[in-house]
């Protein structure tokens, strides 16, 4: 049954994958273009099958704090929202990161700033990878580009969240959330039992047995020395994640004179551009960071040594391009092309931008 191929929306794939991977709780608030996540869960009623809790909260503020409270219990919990809602969640995400709790936050991005538009965007890159809330913290950020990946990376997000006790962001956009493609859902995994939680998460809030002292989950340390120690520990963990967890996908980069760097949906559009460019005899490759943090700095650096230029394509005013430029460190020209406010760049527009890059570096 698990091999059955189904047609579904990206948002639906997230919900179904969450149930399948043994998620214990979802807490959310409706916002376009991601409401199908909670709608699918409410329709599926997983509390009757796996026992998963699904709750519509009164706000995104409340959702993320329910996730915080739930994550403390050692259970697999998640929320999903879209850009304005995720802005509201930033306080809670900072607390969760500091308290070193596992959880998954999905952002199906729409165009901002402000109330903006409900159309797809990638303008929350900075918010996601540079720390949208206060303090020195990082989120592991996974950027799916297909509906299948919406399912696969939901599962992967939980695995990473528990491996490192850290919040993981699934950063998609409205188009991937709304489009339908073929999906093979993951195998149904059982939810963790109380015994497993007690064994695997000794830090979890389960009720204090006589055999140990009280567990306290807090992000407060009034003494600066303690808070510095907390920060040093977090940073050490982040270095470990940077070393181990970079995921990157490359298409035709081996012989490429020009590299397009793009994530999520844009990476697929750029593959079309690559096909068009190759037909014209231009040696073009596409590098797609799947983890936006940790960022594939080394992979980009290596390509910068052998290509003539890079084009970073995003549905924003040029955010990831800053990280590409840091990686390239001046070795080659890095240009930026983006559409703003909810417009998806078309493959031929990208080709025009690419041809400008080629002309500038001929």
């Amino acid at each position: 049954m698990s091999e059955e191929v189904k047609l579904m929306k990206g948002n639906e794939a997230i919900a179904r994958a969450a149930i399948r991977c043994g998620c214990d709780g979802y807490f959310g608030y409706p916002i376009t273009p991601q409401s199908e996540v909670m709608e699918t869960l409410m329709e599926e009623e997983p509390w009757k099958t796996t026992g998963m809790v699904v709750l519509q909260a009164e706000s995104e503020t409340s959702s993320i704090n329910m996730v915080y409270g739930g994550a403390c219990t050692g259970k697999k919990v998640m929320t999903s929202s879209s850009s304005p809602g995720v802005s509201l969640m930033q306080e809670g995400i900072s607390y969760i990161a500091c308290a070193e709790l596992p959880c998954v936050v999905v952002n199906v991005m729409r165009g901002g700033p402000g109330l903006g538009t409900i159309q797809p965007s990638q303008a929350d890159y900075f918010q996601t990878v540079k720390g949208g809330g206060h303090g020195d913290y990082k989120l592991i950020a996974l950027a799916p580009s297909t509906v299948q990946e919406m399912a696969d990376y939901t599962v992967k997000a939980f695995d990473l969240a528990f491996k490192y006790r850290t919040p993981v962001m699934l950063l998609a956009d409205g188009a991937i959330g709304q489009m339908m493609e073929k999906v093979v859902l993951p195998e149904q995994r059982p939810r963790a039992t109380e015994e497993e939680i007690r064994a695997n998460c000794p830090w979890a809030i389960v009720g204090k047995p006589a055999s140990r002292g009280r567990n306290v989950i807090t992000s407060l340390a009034l003494k600066s020395e303690e808070m510095e120690a907390t920060n040093i520990k977090l940073q050490a963990k982040y270095r470990e994640i940077e070393k181990n967890e970079v995921i990157v996908e490359m298409h035709n980069c081996e012989d490429a004179d020009y590299i397009i760097v793009a994530f999520g949906l844009c990476a697929r559009i750029c593959q079309k551009t690559m096909e068009m460019a190759r037909e014209k005899g231009l040696k073009v490759g596409v590098l797609r960071p799947i983890t936006l943090w940790p960022f594939p700095t080394e992979e980009i650096k290596a390509l910068a040594n052998k290509c003539k230029g890079m084009l970073c394509v995003e549905m924003n005013a040029g955010q990831m391009v800053e990280d590409v430029r840091l990686a390239v460190n001046g070795k080659v020209d890095v240009q930026s092309f983006g559409r703003l406010g909810g417009i998806i760049p078309a493959p031929d527009e990208v080709l025009n931008a690419l041809e400008k890059l080629v002309a500038d570096n001929a």
Binding site: Y68, C72, A210, R214
Partner: protein
């Protein structure tokens, strides 16, 4: 001194082991310590130490987790009912309570309070109402009385500028989701005993699936109020009780 009288049979009082020996950071005369002790005693008497989970607020009671020997989560300002909602739904056989002050519960966390109560979450909310922000240094709270002076209404709360004292407990009692809503105090021995009964009842309710239990404790903040502890108690009886009368608001 003759120590011969220190014998088990002469024991008249012992501190519950649920309350540990950490020196409390609360000011002398503060109501928090008494309420902490009552919760600890209820937990011990009900034999639920291994099954109780507390959610601490932001405010003076942020450090409640240092004193009660149970598992604790510490919430962001005002969000304790959201955390408690998730904990109770994920661990339905645990006793889950929040411990919140007036700023936390009735200003920044009003939405979380109202909606947790309206959903009828099977949790206990302990609400310490002293009409002032203690931890940040005595600023105006939503429950600050008309005319009462604080650091941010130094000439007294003026309703034309600051609006009216918020009787959130009355509001919460109106909600279908609440089962038990009561207002108590801890300024006399008799009051302490009543408050303890109320807390116990609230904890017991949380296993019956019939809705939220909400226990307000009208309290003093002698440092914020700039009065001696004894004077604070008198002032509370004369003024606070008029705006916030003691007794059950709802018991169904």
């Amino acid at each position: 001194m003759n120590n011969d009288i220190i014998k088990p049979e002469n024991l008249v009082y012992t501190k519950t082991p649920v309350l540990n020996d950490n020196p409390m950071h609360y000011c002398p005369g503060c109501s928090h310590g008494v309420v902490h002790k009552l919760i600890a005693e209820v937990i011990e008497e009900m034999g639920i130490q291994e099954k109780t989970i507390g959610v601490a607020p932001v405010g003076c009671a942020v450090f409640a987790y240092n004193y009660l020997e149970i598992d604790w989560e510490q919430a962001a300002h005002g969000r304790a009912p959201a955390l408690a909602t998730a904990v109770k739904r994920l661990w339905p056989d645990r006793y889950v309570f929040t411990y919140q002050g007036d700023g936390d519960l009735a200003a920044i966390g009003t939405a979380e309070t109202i909606h947790a109560c309206n959903r009828g979450e099977n949790i206990t909310i302990i609400f310490i109402n002293n009409g002032i922000y203690g931890m940040t240094g005595g600023q105006m709270a939503p429950t600050t009385l008309e005319g009462m002076k604080t650091a941010t209404c130094p000439y007294g709360r003026n309703t034309a500028i600051n609006g009216y004292p918020l009787n959130i407990t009355k509001l919460v009692a109106e909600l279908e989701g609440t089962r038990y809503v009561t207002r108590q105090s801890v300024h006399t021995v008799a009051a302490v005993q009543k408050a303890k009964k109320a807390i116990r009842k609230a904890f017991e309710n949380s296993m019956e699936g019939k809705g939220t239990s909400f226990v307000e404790i009208v309290s003093t903040c002698n440092s914020g109020w700039k009065m001696s502890p004894a004077k604070s108690n008198e002032w509370m009886v004369e003024n606070m009780f008029k705006a916030y009368p003691i007794g059950d608001l709802k018991d169904k």
